[in-house]
């Protein structure tokens, strides 16, 4: 048999049966099935021990940020995705979309076979040969210049391979497109710095960030990386980053800001411009001001700008004061706006001011070419679509969904009819595939080879963690290109993996590594890539040449619509992942549905109630959707997130909500997109729907669940240690404490544990992104219950992000709430059958199979973190492949809750026992802690006085939720800072 590699092993597994390993499919079957089969391996795999996970490094392809991932493989299946700690983008963290890649892999609606349009016009399943033949015929018959690819902004090996392939075929065009493109930023950068590259924000250097709409904690550029950097700076009390957000609808990013200024939507750029002008004129800028810039800034007239942006003098003065006092402010422009001259204006003003204030030290950095600058501008795209049927006869679509995600002004549906032939390469059925002539099911990235280069010097490898999911006859996209190339008679390598290795040999050469390639390659696979960082040494040098003219603002409209990119669904590509659909939006707390956010006062004025369905009409189109009151939006503005409204994207996405791309219109006389400030009409339809929201109340109702501390007060006490909770208790209630002391002896006479697990939640760092929620669902086999059950209030999350709108300020509090593992747990004594008891490690144990389902524990839980199985929830094949075999799949009628990831604790303790030592601090990371991009969660042993948690438990910012109930929780929260000098 020769040497057997891991790949062979996986092949063998795939060829055998689903369970071709030395243990049964634990956890996938309902309990008490009578005969369990156990399947022997045919040929054992090297280094693979059933029951012990393997980890493989790979790269996320869900958005252009390309975080490094680690996938956890058990018995040949990927069961969890985590961040790669070595990777400079993710640093061991990930967002909810990254985690949900797993549900892309195991999506039950993935295409099982190629589809071909038959003479009757029906798409039917066909054999691979037939489908390939159809495409080859077409390609042979079409002049190469009439063929075009629509792809994501590719980087790495696939980018060069596709380019070579297309050139070899005779000049097939490639159109890379990203709906949330950074066209405006790139144009501004080109105008100011003479280079069409992204000037990356550097949160470490900045002392103030003013964002005129960029949602850098959600979707903008590289949210996981930015969240980490931002949270670090915010949590650092001595060098705390001040943050002002300027936008009409408060975003998740804005909700963390110290101050929110809400101008009329779409007018933020003029405010940025005015700020630039006034700063220039104030004469406080210490760096030379280029004349062109000074002249350009003259176009912003204070009274005019303030009047049409609707921003008060006081607010603007505050902004100005903050910027002038800051040494190195980081000013960011708008979020979206492909090619939009207004957004370009905003970015020019923002970047110029950043550069002028900071000079050489400006908190911007060059990272060379990135995935963002590879995307075509919206103008190009518009021309491209216009040319369908003429310049382009055959369209090859790879991993894009133009018929859903192209704004309606492009009229892609009409344009599609002009195309002679459209071939779609996608793992999933979608709107574009539905309209295609031939559809090829390709592999999802977790089961495929590839790489990415999110920015220069970060070479990130993408290796398969498992054999392709056998339910679908998918093929690797690269290998498909090779097959096509062979048939079309162009020279291609044998496999894409071979090409990839060649590509990496070049990289090895480029970085000057002289080891044998195999050694280099092994290290790359182990580490997940090669992370050298950009060696661009360019400084931030303003070289403005011709600055574009400042456009005239559109006349104001009321109501005006803001379309914002969804943190969860992105441009809609994540909509077929049940986790993503199930997790509510962090701010409006609605899952599965689209809602139109309306200010509560406006709703009252317009005689609308929550859940009332309205017809929303723009010049481009009209949709019907329910309204949701949202107090953090400017009066007269309504807002809608992208991503819903799919018509053919599998069971989890189809028919849910409305598609915002339908509503986006062109910016006043240009061919660019207008995302905010769209003039809309609202009409009441008279229908009502129940909103699938998970929040019980908008505000804290006077309860001290979320607490704050003035920064100044904290600084006086920084570094001090509060007494431990035990000491405090001892002091305040000596008699009770004495009773407990005596009683603790009685408690565990057999084995006193060296551990008491504790968790710290830093509410200052937490940005509410809900990555932890999805990570928890993945780790703990938490089912998604669907829209109807969410409406009924039966969500199953073990951890939730509570959102409270502050009553005094614009602040939004995010409180991650999970089982508090109380020492005096109210849930425990009320259980009649001992299904929930306390462990020596201080954990509140829940024994599912002992539970009879009285639900008394849940009633008596003041934190309401217990979850009851209202039904036996099903995991449709092959979503069940993702289930964690170390966690029971619960059946109907039992209670469940957060366990602090007991399976991970057990694993670590088991290993520690083997090595005859105690568990080390930081060795255990529950899924939520591991995921948190803000690093707001810390887990550890509170009995070890040197552990991080033990110290944080004594931090002056510490508090416990509902402390007065004497539940003695094992979760401590750290108070959020307020700036005392705030008005």
């Amino acid at each position: 048999m020769g040497e057997i590699t891991r790949r062979d092993f996986l092949k063998i597994l795939g060829a055998g049966s689903a369970a071709a390993v030395g243990l049964p499919l634990v956890a996938c079957k309902p309990p008490r099935s009578k005969v369990e089969k156990v399947v022997s391996q045919l040929i054992p795999a090297e280094d693979v021990v059933p029951g012990i996970p393997q980890w493989y490094a790979t790269t996320c392809q869900e958005c252009p940020a390309h975080c490094g991932l680690l996938v956890k493989v058990r018995e040949g299946r990927i069961i969890k995705v985590e961040g790669n700690p070595d990777h400079p983008v993710s640093r061991g963290r990930h967002c909810m979309r990254g985690e949900a890649a797993l549900q892309g892999l195991y999506n039950p609606d993935r295409l099982p076979s190629p589809l071909l349009r038959n003479p009757d016009g029906q798409l039917v399943a066909v054999e691979w040969d037939q489908a390939l033949q159809a495409l080859i015929e077409t390609l042979k018959q079409t002049p190469p210049d009439k063929i075009a690819w629509l792809t994501p902004p590719l980087t790495g090996a696939m980018e060069s391979f596709l380019r070579q392939w297309s050139e070899a075929l005779g000049g097939v065009r490639i159109v890379p497109y990203e709906p949330f493109s950074q066209d405006a930023l790139l144009s501004a950068s080109e105008a100011l710095f003479g280079t069409r590259e992204i000037p990356w924000p550097d949160f470490e250097k900045a002392d103030l960030v003013v964002s005129f709409g960029a949602d850098f904690l959600e979707t903008w550029l590289s949210p996981v990386e930015f969240t980490r950097m931002y949270a670090q700076r915010r949590g650092d009390a001595r060098h705390r980053l001040h943050h002002i957000q300027v936008e009409a609808r408060l975003s998740l990013t804005g909700s963390k800001a110290d101050r929110w200024i809400a101008p009329r939507p779409g007018t933020e750029p003029w405010l940025a411009g005015l700020l630039l002008r006034e700063m220039i004129e104030s004469g406080t800028l210490s760096h030379p001001i280029p004349q062109t810039l000074r002249a350009w800034a003259q176009q912003f007239d204070r009274s005019a700008v303030l009047s049409f942006t609707g921003v008060s003098e006081a607010e603007f003065e505050h902004l100005k004061k903050a910027v002038s006092e800051a040494k190195r402010p980081l000013i960011l422009g708008g979020n979206l706006g492909a090619g939009d001259p207004i957004q370009v204006t905003g970015w020019i003003a923002a970047l110029a001011l950043t550069a002028l204030k900071g000079g050489e030290q400006a908190p911007l950095q060059w990272r060379g070419r990135s995935s963002w600058d590879r995307a075509v501008s919206f103008e190009t795209l518009a021309k491209f679509v216009e040319g369908w049927g003429e310049e382009t006869e055959v369209l090859l679509v790879y991993d894009r969904n133009p018929l859903y995600a192209f704004p309606s002004i492009l009229q892609a549906d009409e344009a599609r009819k002009r195309l002679k032939f459209m071939a779609v390469f996608t793992p999933y059925p979608n709107e574009t595939a539905e309209a295609a002539d031939v559809v090829f099911p390709i592999r999802q990235f977790l089961e495929d080879w590839g790489d990415a280069e999110p920015y220069e010097g970060v070479y990130s490898i993408q290796q398969p963690g498992m054999q392709p999911v056998p339910h679908f006859q998918s093929q690797a996209f690269g290998d498909l290109l090779i097959q096509l190339g062979q048939q079309l008679g162009i020279s291609v390598p044998e496999t894409f993996v071979e090409y990839l290795r060649t590509h990496w040999q070049k990289i090895q050469k480029k970085v000057g590594d002289s080891r044998p390639f195999d050694e280099f390659w092994r290290e790359v696979l182990q580490k997940g890539g090669l992370f050298k960082g950009s060696d661009a040494t360019k400084s931030i040098q303003l070289q403005p040449k011709q600055l574009p003219e400042v456009p005239q603002p559109d006349p104001p409209s009321t109501p005006a619509l803001v379309v914002y990119p969804s943190l969860r669904l992105y441009d809609g590509r994540m909509a077929n992942r049940p986790w993503i659909q199930e997790v509510p939006d962090p701010l409006n707390k609605v899952s599965w549905q689209s809602v139109l956010e309306v200010h509560p006062d406006d709703a009252r004025a317009w005689n609308l109630k929550e859940g009332d369905v309205v017809r929303l009409t723009t010049s481009r189109g009209s949709v019907e959707l329910p309204i949701r009151t949202y107090p953090r939006i400017r009066r007269g503005v309504v807002a809608l997130a992208t991503g819903q409204g799919h018509t053919a994207f599998g069971r989890y996405a189809t028919g849910k909500g409305v598609n915002a791309f339908v509503l986006i219109e062109a910016q006043n006389g240009t061919s660019s997109l207008k995302w905010t400030g769209i003039s809309v009409q609202l009409e009441k339809t008279g229908r009502r729907v129940h909103l699938a929201h998970t929040d019980g109340a908008e505000t804290l109702e006077g309860r001290k669940v979320a607490q704050t501390i003035p920064l100044g007060v904290y600084l006086e006490h920084e570094g001090e240690l509060e007494p431990t909770y035990e000491e405090e208790f001892e002091k305040e209630f000596p008699a009770t404490a004495a009773f407990y002391r005596e009683y603790h002896k009685e408690k565990f006479p057999e084995h006193e544990s060296p551990y008491h697990w504790g968790l710290v939640v830093d509410t200052e760092k937490c940005v509410g992104c809900a990555a932890c929620v999805v990570a928890c669902m993945a780790e703990n086999n938490i089912p998604t219950v669907g829209e109807k059950l969410i409406v009924q209030g039966r969500e199953m999350f073990w951890i939730r992000i509570e959102r409270y709108f502050d009553e005094q300020s614009h602040t939004v509090h995010f409180i991650p709430m999970m089982c508090q593992q109380c020492d005096n747990a109210p849930c425990e004594p009320v259980c009649p059958v001992f299904a929930t008891v306390h462990s020596a490690d201080g954990l509140n144990e829940q024994v599912y199979n002992r539970c009879v389902g009285t639900r008394y524990c849940s009633n008596n839980c003041p934190y309401k973190v217990r979850r009851f199985n209202w039904y036996t929830f099903k995991f449709p094949e092959p979503l069940n492949w993702q289930l964690n075999p170390d966690v029971t799949v619960r059946e109907k009628g039992v209670m469940e809750k957060c366990t602090f990831c007991i399976q991970r604790i057990k694993y670590a303790k088991d290993r520690a026992k083997d090595e005859q030592r105690l568990v080390r601090d930081g060795e255990i990371q529950p899924a939520c802690v591991q995921a948190c991009p803000a690093e707001a969660l810390v887990f550890g042993n509170t009995k070890d006085p040197e552990s991080r948690v033990a110290k944080l438990f004594r931090n002056p910012r510490r508090y416990r939720v509902l402390e007065h109930l004497n539940t003695r929780p094992s979760v401590t929260y750290l108070k959020r800072f307020t700036e005392v000098n705030e008005v």
Binding site: G793, R794, S858, V894
Partner: protein, 440 residues
């Protein structure tokens, strides 16, 4: 009234064949039971999701109905045991019916804790045995107290019911024929009414009454502790035990009135026993207990407000003015306002008024429990976790089924067992003496 008349009147119900209306009613009851059973089977098959319960509100209609029926049960024991100890002889004519009501109400109530379980097929885990797993039950849980209290109450009230009936069953045996004779022979265990039997019986009955009296108070206290022992605002209150006991008697007395009035109407000869004076006495009890309940409502609000506990006060404000304001005001009017009419003697002696008010009190008391359970859970400590509960058709079907179940047994009892306590009615008559006969 002679002994003979009492015997004959009492046996008229037992020895005659019921008319078609009776069978029609029983058929209707069986239909309701069928509905309830079907709904329960559906719920077991699919899971508790078919109810309206959700994350904050883990208990709803089932526990409400459980407490409701346990409450109904209480006045039976009150009338049979407590009034016995107090020598209130007017209770003798109605105590059998009240006691039967107790037994059947506990039988009905006892079903609900099982119905409300997520995994009802595991109900036996609540019994004190470890099934060889070495894990017993948690005696610190109020639900286990409940198991013990309700099972004890069921057993003891059934024994008490049966023992009180023994001499009457003997009477029925001695005056029946055919299958009835066989049945009553079996049930009466050969009771003769001899001096030995009566001697031990007298003391034994006294002890039953003496046990039943604290038991009845303990049972509803334990039921109230299901709530009061928790930390839920709106539940965690020291007044719950007396408040629940008073409420239970209140609802039970109302149910006795509700049952007696149609019986009187259908069998007019029973009006000699269920006299208007008896009803007036019941109305007085209703007035008294209703006043206690109303007082408890006020005290609850006073405590919540004066204690200064914001969360507690918020829970009570929500109860009165929030989503569940309608059930709340139904409760207030039915339990605290309408019974005040019994301050008037005329109302106490008016059959229609008695009937309507007793029905309203029944409704009000169901809503009282609904209010306590649902509103408190719905809005507790963490605002983000608040939620609203609405009963589902399945729950309402089971609720309807519980009425069918109760009335099925009750109607069966009316025609099968002596509903008039024969020997105890005779006891309150002057003993037949020749002296009297001669003077008469």
């Amino acid at each position: 009234m002679t002994y003979r008349k009492i015997t004959q009147d009492a046996l008229r119900l037992l020895l005659s064949r019921p008319g078609w209306k009776y069978f029609a009613l029983q058929g209707f009851n069986l239909l309701l039971i069928g509905l309830g059973v079907t709904a329960f089977a559906y719920q077991v098959h699919h899971g508790m999701g078919v109810t309206g319960l959700n994350n904050p509100v883990g208990w709803g209609t089932y526990i409400t109905t459980f407490v409701f029926w346990v409450g109904i049960a209480h006045s039976g024991t009150l009338i049979s045991a407590i009034l016995y100890l107090f020598r209130s002889r007017w209770r003798n004519s109605i105590y059998r019916i009240a006691e039967a009501m107790t037994v059947f109400a506990v039988m009905t109530a006892g079903l609900f804790p099982i119905i409300h379980l997520g995994r009802p097929w595991k109900f036996y885990w609540l019994l004190p045995f470890d099934y060889f797993r070495k894990v017993w039950i948690n005696f610190r849980s109020p639900l286990i107290w409940d198991v013990f209290a309700v099972l004890t109450y069921l057993t003891v009230s059934m024994i008490f019911f049966y023992v009180g009936m023994l001499p009457d069953l003997a009477t029925a045996r001695d005056h029946s024929t055919g299958w009835r004779k066989k049945l009553y022979t079996l049930l009466s265990l050969g009771w003769q009414g001899n001096h030995r039997e009566w001697k031990h019986y007298r003391l034994s009955y006294l002890y039953f009454a003496a046990f039943a009296t604290p038991l009845v108070i303990s049972v509803h206290s334990v039921v109230s502790w299901d709530f009061a022992m928790s930390i839920v605002p709106g539940w965690h209150s020291t007044i719950f035990a007396p408040y629940f006991v008073a409420g239970a008697i209140f609802s039970g007395v109302a149910m006795v009135i509700t049952l007696l009035i149609p019986i009187r109407k259908i069998f007019p000869y029973l009006q000699d026993y269920f006299t208007i004076d008896v009803l007036e006495n019941l109305a007085k009890m209703l007035l008294l207990t209703g006043a206690i309940v109303a007082y408890a409502y006020v005290v609850e609000y006073f405590l919540a407000w004066y204690s200064g506990n914001e969360i507690e006060w918020a829970a009570f404000k929500f109860r009165a003015l929030g989503t569940y304001t309608i059930p709340f005001w139904i409760m207030i009017f039915c339990n605290a306002v309408f019974p005040l009419i019994f301050f008037f003697k005329k109302a106490r002696r008016s059959i229609p008024v008695l009937f309507v008010v007793s029905l309203l009190v029944n409704v009000g008391m169901w809503f009282e429990r609904f209010n306590i359970i649902v509103t408190s859970l719905s809005h507790d400590y963490i605002p983000a976790a608040w939620g609203i509960y609405k009963p589902s058709p399945i729950e309402l079907s089971i609720l309807a089924g519980s009425f069918g179940w109760f009335f099925f047994w009750f109607l069966l009892f009316l025609r099968l067992l002596p509903a008039l306590p024969i020997s105890e009615l005779k006891e309150i008559q002057p003993v037949p003496t020749r002296k009297q006969e001669v003077t008469a």
